[in-house]
């Protein structure tokens, strides 16, 4: 009912377009993996290759240690939940869910029983005799999930299954997906371009861009300690500050910016220790910038003028223009109770430990997308 997956140097080329470039990834049994990236990053292609709908140009897919290269989709221990659900319109929900079992030669009574069990799990038992066109999007989605799980796959592949749902329903379904995944223990590989969805459900997020894996790790790591500028940018709002390495100071590395020099611990360098003189980009999340000093935010970045502020419920989102600097405006999240108004001057404070310093050369590539 569950298995590990090993992707080994997978490449996929369409005519001249390289959709995947040497993708290698180890997925544990029972893990909830989210492949996250913008459209065209290769995440759906990767899923199709795991499901057997596409052949990789080179490289291997191993499931439970067995090579899947020449195994057709029907014989793989995987099932797929499609974005448009792909329910069989002429069959009742019970027959839809039981279809995979029917193909495996299970008798009518047994499969109806088992189909009902899975419909019950997704809360659709009362509609078992209905047909798909009578259902709402969210309900179809549940049936598609039940159908894919009914055959007891080791791995469930989910191709942007929540893409067509409205926001509220999507958040609801995320929780449900996560709960069901825990219940059945099947390995879930889920594709999405919504980073909030990824953070809400993933054990581990794999950030993809341009056919390569940019970053891979638990949601908190990907958000707090991204290993690439693309990943930092894609996971949420971030302020970039150009910097360069000027020297070392014991265990600390000194970087120079427009706003002065800062000493950073080596743990800030998630993409590896930089060489002297190397161009860097410092990343700070909006919530890591504060207008007032507290225990953590003790370093002064610069003094800035408030351009505008919008109340977001949980925070004030402000644009701040640094004074006496050519830098772009910063985005900062200030506390709900802060009383800043446009035109005010405030100090921007931060904690050097929050900084993530990444090599700059990739930045152009990032902006291209």
């Amino acid at each position: 009912m569950t298995a590990d997956v090993s992707l080994q140097k997978l490449c996929k080329t369409f005519d001249k377009f390289r959709a995947l470039k040497e993708i290698s990834l180890e997925i544990d049994a029972g893990e909830f993996i989210v492949l996250l990236g913008p459209s065209g990053c290769g995440k759906s292609t990767l899923l199709s290759i795991i499901g057997g709908f596409l052949d990789a140009t080179s490289g291997k897919v191993l499931v439970d240690g067995k090579d899947m290269t020449s195994v057709p989709p029907a014989s793989r221990p995987t099932t797929t939940m499609f974005q448009d659900y792909a329910l069989f319109p002429h069959m009742t929900l019970r027959d839809n869910v039981g279809f995979g079992l029917r193909m495996r030669g299970m008798g009518r009574k047994d499969r109806a029983l088992k189909a009902d069990q899975f419909l019950d799990m997704v809360g659709m038992m009362s509609s078992a005799a209905r047909k798909p066109h009578e259902l709402s999007g969210g309900q179809r989605q549940r049936v598609a999930l039940a159908r894919a799980l009914a055959v007891g796959p080791d791995i469930l592949l989910l191709d942007e299954p929540l893409g067509a749902l409205d926001m509220k329903l999507r958040r609801e379904m995320q929780d449900e997906l996560k709960a069901i995944q825990r219940e059945v223990g099947t390995t879930f590989i889920h594709v999405t371009h919504d980073q909030e969805e990824a953070m809400a459900i993933a054990d581990r997020i794999v950030v993809m861009n341009g056919g390569v894996i940019e970053d891979c790790g638990p949601p908190s790591d990907i958000y707090m300690r991204p290993r690439s500028l693309f990943s930092a940018n894609f996971m949420g709002e971030v302020n970039f500050i150009p910097a360069s390495v000027t020297g070392e100071e014991g265990q600390l590395i000194v970087v120079d910016t427009e706003f002065g020099a800062f000493s950073l611990s080596t743990s800030c360098f998630t993409a590896g220790t930089p060489s002297p003189g190397q161009a860097l980009t410092l990343c700070l999340r909006p919530e890591q910038l504060r207008p007032t000093a507290d225990k953590r935010t003790s370093n002064l970045l610069c003094r800035a003028e408030v351009v505008d502020g919008v109340f977001f419920g949980t925070h004030f989102r402000c644009h701040l223009q640094p004074l006496n600097a050519s830098s772009d405006t910063f985005v900062a999240h200030m506390s709900q109770s802060s009383t800043v108004s446009p035109g005010d001057s405030v100090d921007i404070l931060f904690d050097t430990a929050d900084i993530i310093a990444l090599p700059s050369q990739k930045q152009e590539q990032t902006h291209a997308h």
Binding site: A74, A86, F99
Partner: protein
């Protein structure tokens, strides 16, 4: 206001004339099938069911009617099946010269029935197959296959492709996908193709005439009746043919177009 009324009046008049032009001959045919007299020409002398009784008592006509139905149903079934296979293959697989294959499949549509019938006559003679209802059936499959193919092929889209993928993913093999998923999803267009073929085969004369010998279909039988002169009996059988065609059209409307309008 007056101009508007005039336009409305004109378009209604036009509509009435148009339908009159199309339907009047049929109406006259049906009316004079009830003629109480031996000539189906005005004046109308009064109602009688005598000619219908004669039609049903005529063994040759009844045999021809059965033949026609058999040929129509069998040839339409075969044309639909072959058309479905061709459409499925051409839309789901990358085949060599698929554009050319499509053109070849549709080609019989552009050729006159007479040419097709003559061609088949020559071929059957050449390979020594004797003319019978079977040869008529072959002819009807040939003329209806392009129609079935075109209708079914047009309704195969990418949406079904994903559903077929899902079925394959759940363990269905090629035939199971085709018959358990694709065919039921395309049922409206398959039915449309079937009923249209049925009406075409039912009415068809030239091929049936040239490719049949002792057992003939209804249009051929009616033709030989006509050779012996006008008779309300021909009107009666003509009315029956018309009635069946109308019935087929209504079935098409009920089973196919009504289903389609559902969400």
């Amino acid at each position: 206001m007056i101009a508007h009324r005039m336009t409305a009046l004109l378009s209604w008049t036009y509509l009435l004339i148009l339908f009159g032009f199309i339907l009047l001959p049929v109406a006259v045919l049906v009316l004079f099938s009830f003629q109480d007299g031996t000539l189906p020409i005005p004046p109308f002398n009064g109602f009688t069911f005598r000619w219908y009784a004669e039609v049903f008592a005529d063994d040759k006509l009844m045999a021809a009617l059965r033949n026609s139905l058999t040929v129509a149903i069998c040839s339409s079934l075969i044309a639909c099946l072959l058309g479905f296979f061709a459409a499925y293959g051409l839309s789901r697989y990358r085949l060599p010269g698929s554009a050319l294959q499509r053109i070849l499949l549709m080609a019989p549509m552009t050729v006159s029935y007479l040419i097709i019938a003559l061609g088949l006559l020559v071929v059957f003679n050449w390979i020594g197959i004797r003319l019978s209802l079977w040869t008529v059936g072959v002819g009807h499959v040939i003329i209806n296959l392009p129609l079935c193919f075109a209708i079914i092929y047009a309704s195969m889209g990418d949406h079904q492709k994903n559903t077929e993928r899902a079925a394959r993913d759940l363990g269905a093999n090629g035939f199971q996908v085709m018959f358990l998923i694709t065919a039921p999803m395309l049922l409206p267009s398959i039915l449309a193709a079937f009923f249209l073929s049925l009406t075409f085969s039912w009415d068809e004369f030239i091929i049936s005439f040239l490719l049949s010998r002792f057992d003939v279909t209804l249009p051929v039988e009616i033709w030989s009746l006509l050779r012996s002169g006008l008779n309300p009996k021909t009107n009666a059988i003509g009315s029956l043919v018309f009635l069946l065609s109308v019935a087929l059209l209504i079935m098409l409307e009920m089973f196919v177009f009504r289903r389609r309008s559902k969400p």
